[in-house]
Symmetry: C2
Subunit: 408 residues, 2 copies
């Protein structure tokens, strides 16, 4: 079995965190100068590990193995959220690099081919999971032409030119090249920590359905308009929200989640009855049947409230991302490795957050491994994982990779 | 009985609407150039009507009668909301002017003394009901020193200087000078129109209690945080709002109103569980016992939700304006006049909006008369009242004034 080098792994991770360091975290949005610099450093580390690296036309770094044995693709992303954590994404990329090195160093596994990817813009500054979607043919030149930075409005073409990537080919998925795809990531939640586990084996990445609900009543004076004749859009929104919160638990699976993240009233003055209200609602589950059940219930509640009045209610679907189910044999391989290195301290779970594995999983058998997030914190510069958990996770990841490539 | 001149009344009202005309309404915030110009024009009209006008140190225009008979004060305000209506305030001022003229023209009432006021800044650009409060000693030099324009931040002292009012004395209430105070106003609601009435006799001006409710939970990832461990501040807000909406109708009087005019979630992103939520809540009634009952219920609901958790709830009172009860004999006088000119088409009602009468009413017996608002619209440039209702209302107002001054 290959043995990873924990010190080398942590040293590479810490070096990576120098690019865009922000307090105890990192500010390294895709195609920022720090991000571009980090990609060149990453490519040099891949080259040193014996891989042939390219930085492609959207910024994805792909290190290709020259070995001729059975081949796997390992990856994650090295771009970050604004003022985000040092491990969110980067850990999975450096795991890939370390596993490639560890397998090459072990005579028993030296023939196995490990390609390593850092997918461009997983955090979605220019689109949604740009690198992995470009790789499987879901994000092409037309999308690049239109893409603008979500905060700054810069054209992606200009940013690619500034990064020296203009005109470079985009790496494309090749049928038959890989046995599958594996991705490691921090959990970004508190389940592993709360249950004293060290390894999460991700059975599925949840699907997300998102909606905008708009309530239209009549704006009026809060002193002179009697209650019975009011058409208060805020009250209509509260009533619907309340019924959703009463109905959804009855339809939910054990890991279903639903969230109103944004609400507003217009005009939003203390002495004016709101004539318009709006809320953004989303729900997630790994089971599509539950997602469809939620949607049907939401639409029925919205329609019945609209019909009852006094406010008009519009419920518009904004997006539907389908759940991605991970490969059973890959899950078994990770579980066996976890049982060896962390007996009794591993569990199967779904991922509530989106990952590149849900895109690559459309083309290849895929699976994911989680390590615990301290305090469940993510998308914040205080995000962290114990060093021992980082090292343990990589050893399990290496074993699972070898098992999958050595299997029939 | 005095006879008002409907054409003269409407002509003065239309001339007044030239100052700051905006579409079919008026933009004439207090101390704007158009407002200052309109006050000089109003003073000239008072002078022509035989009154002695002053524009005082906060901008109130007070026209004093030289007659020596029993004396009354009639008034309202001629400043407007931004892009507001042409009648909101101005109508009551011109009613006063027309009643002073009509009483002077009738030999039977020519000895009666009518003073007419246009109170400064009723719409509260610099404070709350600045002119009437200055008149009764509730807004003095210290308040003027601190006052700044609510939208533009200009110092009131600078605006008074620009208006040529710096150093002018402020008119002060004089004990024993008046039998009482009358104010006419548009209804600003739809009750008169809906019940086919033409005259409202205002029995009380409602009190207003206002609150800020703050809900504190824990901000977290909307995908990776299981429902049972969430502390969602938005859900806490919705639950409390819902209980308030279920409880208040049981405690309410027939004209009680309660309104959430503003709500917000932080950080307000679709995929983040809100860690903080805030809402502004107010309720109004003419009966203080009901206001106190509402407050007790609100505090109890907030405390029980806070105790139950998982979010901390803070409920802070922002203001308590007490209800003002109008004078019974004055109400009888208005009612008798209404019965003569609009038999069966008058009603007693409370005012859900605030008016200068609630300030002057602290010192003098006071009453108000309402005329219908078309479609119940106010604080908007489309606000209007039928010409026939404007004329009718002024005739009733004149008769009531004469009755009150001629009574013992």
């Amino acid at each position: 079995m290959p043995r990873i080098n924990g010190e080398r792994l942590l040293a590479d991770l810490r070096r990576m965190a120098d690019f865009g360091r922000y307090q105890t975290g990192v500010h390294r949005p895709h195609l920022s100068p720090q991000d571009v610099e980090s990609r060149h450093w990453l490519a040099s580390r891949m080259k040193k590990a014996g891989l042939e690296p390219v930085i492609d036309g959207v910024g994805t770094v792909l290190g290709k193995s020259a070995r001729t044995g059975p081949r796997i693709l390992l990856g994650s992303h090295s771009d970050t959220q604004p003022r985000g954590g040092w491990l969110d994404g980067a850990m999975g990329v450096i795991y890939g690099l370390e596993v490639a090195r560890a397998l090459a160093e072990d005579p028993e596994t030296a023939h196995l081919a490990v390609d390593v990817a850092s997918w461009a813009d997983e955090e979605g500054h220019w689109g949604q999971m740009v690198g992995s979607r470009s790789f499987v043919g879901m994000f092409g030149d037309a999308e690049i032409d239109k893409a603008r930075h979500r905060d700054e409005g810069t054209a992606m073409r200009d940013a690619l030119r500034a990064a020296g990537l203009e005109g470079k080919p985009r790496e494309q998925f090749e049928e038959g090249r890989y046995r599958g795809y594996l991705e490691a990531h921090i959990e970004q939640g508190g389940v592993l920590e709360a249950t004293d586990k060290r390894i999460g084996i991700v059975t599925a990445i949840v699907g997300i359905y998102a909606y905008r609900l708009t309530f239209t009543g009549i704006q009026n004076h809060a002193g002179t308009t009697p209650m019975p004749i009011r058409k208060d859009a805020g009250v209509a929104m509260m009533r619907l929200y309340n019924e959703v919160m009463e109905t959804f638990p009855r339809l939910a699976g054990p890991r279903s989640v639903w969230t109103v993240g944004k609400m507003s009233l217009e005009p939003g003055a203390p002495a004016i009855i709101p004539g318009k209200a709006e809320m953004l609602f989303q729900f997630r589950d790994a089971d599509r049947a539950i997602l469809d059940r939620f949607e049907a219930a939401l639409m029925e509640i919205a329609a019945s409230h609209d019909k009852r009045g006094p406010c008009a209610i519009e419920c518009v679907n904004l997006s539907r991302t389908m759940p991605t189910v991970m490969d059973d044999r890959f899950l078994d391989a990770i579980e066996e490795s976890a049982a060896t290195h962390a007996p009794g301290r591993h569990m199967r779970m779904s991922s509530g957050a989106g990952h590149d594995a849900q895109i690559i999983g459309l083309k290849l058998p895929a699976a994911m491994l989680f390590v615990p997030s301290i305090g469940g914190i993510s998308h914040h510069f205080t995000e962290n994982t114990a060093d021992a958990d980082i090292v343990l996770g990589c050893q399990v990841f290496a074993d699972a990779t070898a098992k999958i490539l050595e299997g029939n």
